[in-house]
């Protein structure tokens, strides 16, 4: 049971996958055609980690801007004609 989503341990995913609860039904990638970013993922560099976390932060900023634009700047937030 050594499947982890930690960056360094993702490479172990394909090695141990048959011992785990992972992918009971969707494991077979042959049925999906060829996909070039395969199961085995190399360890992430610091730059990639920063990029991923920066992306998550950016996502929150985008949601917050939507909150202000759509909700705060309109008096009845998504409620006017519901029900």
């Amino acid at each position: 049971m050594r499947v982890s989503t930690g960056a360094a341990s993702d490479a172990a995913l394909d090695v141990d996958a048959d011992q785990t609860l992972l992918l009971p039904a969707v494991k077979d990638s042959d049925e999906t055609g060829s996909h070039d970013d395969a199961v085995s993922v190399p360890p992430l560099t610091r730059a990639q980690l920063v990029s991923l976390h920066g992306g998550l932060f950016l996502a929150l900023v985008i949601w917050s801007v939507m909150h202000i634009v759509v909700v705060r700047l309109t008096p009845a937030p998504l409620t006017s004609s519901l029900h």
């Binding site: 969707v26 202000i68 705060r72 409620t79």
Partner: protein, 291 residues
């Protein structure tokens, strides 16, 4: 007052998802998507995720309507907790809770979630700015809470489910294009059941702009960012950032709208940030141990 002009919010959600689906499909096609390659179990799992996304979108609309903005914001932090529990239960993630990094991660998660929830309901004395009039009042708080519990549980489940789809090697953008398609397909009958008057389907003016912005950025771009993080960092870390949203919203409100900032919000915001840093550091250390 665009949203008072008759267009149903569920319809707006549908329009937003249509815009998002078009953007994602174009991006996936540019990335080499072959629709004929999407078949079998992966396609079925994408369809399930699409249905769940549709329910997530509608449940937050109902939560906002019944519970108001504060209750909605207060319950968003449930999401990373539920995601962690589900990931551990399904074996997608491991955690050594007895180690120092495990304790730090759990402590950070608890701090982050608690402060985020408190931030939505506790204000304290005024720190900066001028008090506003508020944004929305709850019409049925209990119902709002229940809708948000449904929303956060579904959000946790779909991240975990998507992680399993991504583990097949399906590119993020291809998965999201398929999921968006099914999300729109599921939203059409659900929205039709709620908005049965033709007038409710007519967006005007700012609503069109809001739909385009919501479809391109909060739907398409954010789904890509979240799914990339889900693939490489895991569903818990991808959702771990969500408690920071009230903090950012509060800061943007202060900067752009001149809304008041209260001492309680400042302290809770600091707590959220501290908890987030601790949880991510703990998770990072756990990853080293697992490797």
């Amino acid at each position: 007052m665009p949203l008072r002009q008759g267009c149903n919010p569920c319809v707006l959600t549908l329009y937003r998802e249509v815009v998002g689906a078009v953007v994602l499909f174009c991006a996936a096609t540019w990335n080499g998507l072959q629709v004929s390659a999407l078949k079998g179990p992966v396609l079925r799992h994408c369809a399930v995720s699409g249905l769940v996304y549709a329910l997530i979108r509608l449940s937050v609309v109902f939560a906002l309507h019944d519970g108001g903005a504060n209750i909605t914001a207060a319950l968003v932090p449930l999401c990373p907790v539920l995601t962690l529990g589900l990931s551990l239960a399904l074996g997608l993630e491991t955690m050594q809770a007895h180690t120092r990094s495990g304790v730090v991660m759990l402590g950070g998660l608890v701090l982050c979630v608690t402060c985020s929830a408190l931030m939505a309901v506790v204000k304290g004395p005024l720190a900066f700015g001028t008090p506003g009039t508020g944004t929305s009042a709850p019409t049925s708080p209990t119902s709002g809470v229940l809708w948000m519990i449904v929303n956060t549980a579904l959000s946790a489940a779909v991240q975990v489910h998507n992680k399993r789809i991504l583990a097949t090697g399906l590119p993020v953008i291809h998965m999201l294009a398929a999921i968006s398609f099914f999300c729109v397909v599921c939203l059409i009958p659900l929205t039709s059941a709620v908005a049965h008057v033709p007038k409710m389907w007519l967006p005007t003016g700012w609503l069109i702009v809001a739909c385009v912005y919501s479809g391109v950025f909060p739907t398409a771009v954010n789904n890509i960012l979240m799914s990339r993080a889900n693939k490489h960092l895991g569903p818990t870390v991808a959702n771990l950032w969500l408690p920071l949203q009230p903090v950012i919203t509060c800061a943007l409100d202060f900067v752009t709208l001149g809304d008041a900032v209260y001492v309680g919000q400042l302290l809770c915001g600091l707590g959220v940030n501290a908890g987030l840093i601790l949880a991510i550091w703990g998770k990072h250390e756990q990853g080293k141990v697992a490797a």
